[in-house]
């Protein structure tokens, strides 16, 4: 598969690890550990999929997703949340702010790959390179 994916996590090691998995699948992966910089980059050049951590200093993943959802250019962008908290309330919040899917940490490489493949196959494909 191909397409550009943008990964945002305040832990740069997580960005690197997710990129390592997805780039092996043929995706072009960009990332940032600063949520404000990530927002600028995503709005400037929308990817085909946005992968977001929830708990970050600055904008949280939920806030970032909600802002992205309000912009015409990124309104339909699929968003996959990576979160350390996987209870029902967090899942509901993720949906409320416009998240498409979520994956609870710690996850396996294969789980990440499967979710991303499904989202990339069903998503609008906006911004694919």
């Amino acid at each position: 598969m191909s397409g550009r994916i943008f990964v945002v996590d305040d832990d740069p090691a997580m960005v690197e690890a997710v990129a390592a998995v997805l780039s092996l699948d043929g995706f072009e992966v960009d990332g940032a550990s600063d949520s404000a910089a990530a927002l600028r980059a995503v709005l400037k050049n929308p990817p085909a999929l946005l992968v977001l951590d929830v708990s970050m200093p600055g904008l949280t993943g939920w806030e970032l997703c909600e802002i992205v959802r309000r912009q015409p250019i990124t309104r339909d962008l699929p968003v996959l949340f990576l979160t350390g908290r996987g209870d029902v309330r967090d899942r509901i919040t993720a949906m409320q702010v416009g998240g498409t899917d979520h994956l609870t940490k710690p996850f396996r490489a294969e789980e990440l790959r499967a979710r991303v493949r499904a989202l990339m196959a069903s998503g609008p494909g906006r911004g694919e390179s």
Partner: protein, 434 residues
């Protein structure tokens, strides 16, 4: 009601503070009084009416300052909010009678309800506002009882209407009672509701486990990639092995284990000698400026964050991921323990082939005894525990490990009541262009 099609690229949802601090009531009240003036129900020649007009303009100005303040007015936004109390005082002076007025009990009820519905800073502001307003009513009674009654009745219905509307708005909002920044921002509300189980948040063990999930995920993912390569009969990528080794090191730090030799760090047997990961280099200026910017976004309204670097870049021989984690821990502490209105300063400089990063705050500081234990794993001072600031006492210990494994050193300097100064030192990388 508040959503804007535009995005604030500095990170704040626009108009997020619009409904805060009980401003809906005063604003709607002012608007109602403006309508009264415009409709001729109040004679323009009436001096109290002129006061009302001025008050309305001030109140609306205050609301505007609050709504757009963060973006447009920066530090001037907060003082401008005081326009609202001033406006209300003018309304009181112009339109009301003394304690015998019909308005007085309404004011008392209004103050009590607003105080109950708002929180913290907003609560103090509101109580002060309405207490001052009530005082003005007492000190400046209307000239006659009839005038007082007439003025009070004119005031009564818009006030009651405003109060009613405000109540409906607050109680139908998904995050009612949440106060200054939240009532109009669903995202913020969602964030505040994030800890689904309050007990889990308070339990330090749960919090530590939560913190471990990220490094554990990274460890698992790299482990999976190495295993997949082995199943395909391929050599694992050096980058994946290096990632695995780095996360192992972090986990060992978290577990309080002594460091191992780099060659034995990855636990997988591999035909590739994973011995020396590529020599890491970082630019302190880049790492710190990104971090400070993030914290400014998150906490800039509460604490002033300043970053000063001597030089466009300061290269050090350290892993950027480890550095970011270490500095994040120190900044987290500085911001957490600095009270509202305080300052956190980050300075980076080079002196005699050594890079120094000094992170100082204006918080409560540490006693010499607390400094002695500050780097002990899972130790929290009694004063920190009593402060109600969430924490697990693992940040500084992990930071010390991370820094030392990257050639750095960390030290503390503090006097109780005069903030804390954390100094981190690295040898400057000899290779240019880090």
């Amino acid at each position: 009601m508040w959503a804007s099609p535009e995005v604030d690229l500095d990170g704040r949802p626009p108009l997020s503070a619009a409904a805060g601090a009980g401003l809906f009531g005063p604003a709607l009240l002012s608007l109602s009084l403006l309508v009264l003036l415009a409709s001729g129900a109040v004679a323009p020649a009436d001096v109290p009416a002129v006061a009302t007009l001025a008050a309305s303009a001030l109140a609306l100005g205050g609301l505007l300052a609050t709504s757009l303040g963060t973006r447009l007015l920066g530090p001037f936004a907060a003082p401008l909010r005081l326009l609202v109390p001033l406006a209300l005082a003018l309304v009181a002076l112009g339109k009301t009678g003394g304690p015998s007025s019909d308005l007085f009990p309404l004011l008392v009820v209004y103050v009590a309800a607003e105080a109950a519905l708002s929180r913290e800073g907003g609560r103090f502001l509101l109580v002060g506002t309405y207490a001052g307003l009530a005082l003005l009513v007492v000190l400046f009674p209307a000239p006659t009882a009839a005038a007082a009654r007439s003025n009070a009745l004119r005031f009564l219905w818009p006030a009651a209407a405003a109060f009613g509307v405000e109540l409906v708005l607050r109680w139908t909002a998904p995050g009612r009672n949440s106060g200054t920044e939240d009532a109009s921002a669903p995202v913020r509300l969602a964030v505040e509701s994030a800890p689904a189980s309050p007990a889990a948040v308070r339990d330090p063990r749960s919090e530590i486990l939560h913190d471990l999930k990220s490094p554990l995920t990274v460890l698992r993912v790299y482990g999976d990639l190495v295993a997949e390569a082995a199943r395909r009969g391929e050599l694992p990528s050096e980058a994946h092995l290096a990632g695995l080794a780095r996360e192992m090191t972090l986990m060992e730090s978290l577990a309080g284990m002594p460091p191992r030799a780099p060659a034995s760090a990855p636990s997988v047997s591999s035909p590739v000698a994973p011995a020396t990961p590529p020599s890491p280099r970082s630019d302190l200026v880049r790492v710190l400026s990104t971090l400070v910017e993030s914290y400014r976004l998150a906490h800039g309204e509460r604490v002033r964050l300043e970053f000063v670097a001597e030089g466009a870049e300061i290269p050090v021989a350290a892993d950027p991921v480890a550095l970011q984690r270490a500095f994040r821990n120190v900044l987290d502490n500085a911001v957490k323990y600095t009270p509202a209105g305080g300052q956190v300063r980050v300075r980076a400089s080079v002196v005699a082939q050594h890079a120094f990063v000094v992170i100082s705050d204006t918080g409560a500081g540490m006693t010499p005894e607390e400094q002695k234990h500050a780097f002990t794993f899972a130790w929290r001072s009694p004063s920190a525990s009593a402060s109600g600031v969430p924490g697990r006492g693992i940040g500084l210990g992990v930071t010390k490990d991370l820094l030392e494994k990257n050639g750095g050193k960390i030290s503390l300097l503090s006097e109780p009541g005069h903030g804390l100064e954390v100094t981190i030192m690295f040898p400057v990388s000899r290779e240019a262009g880090a």
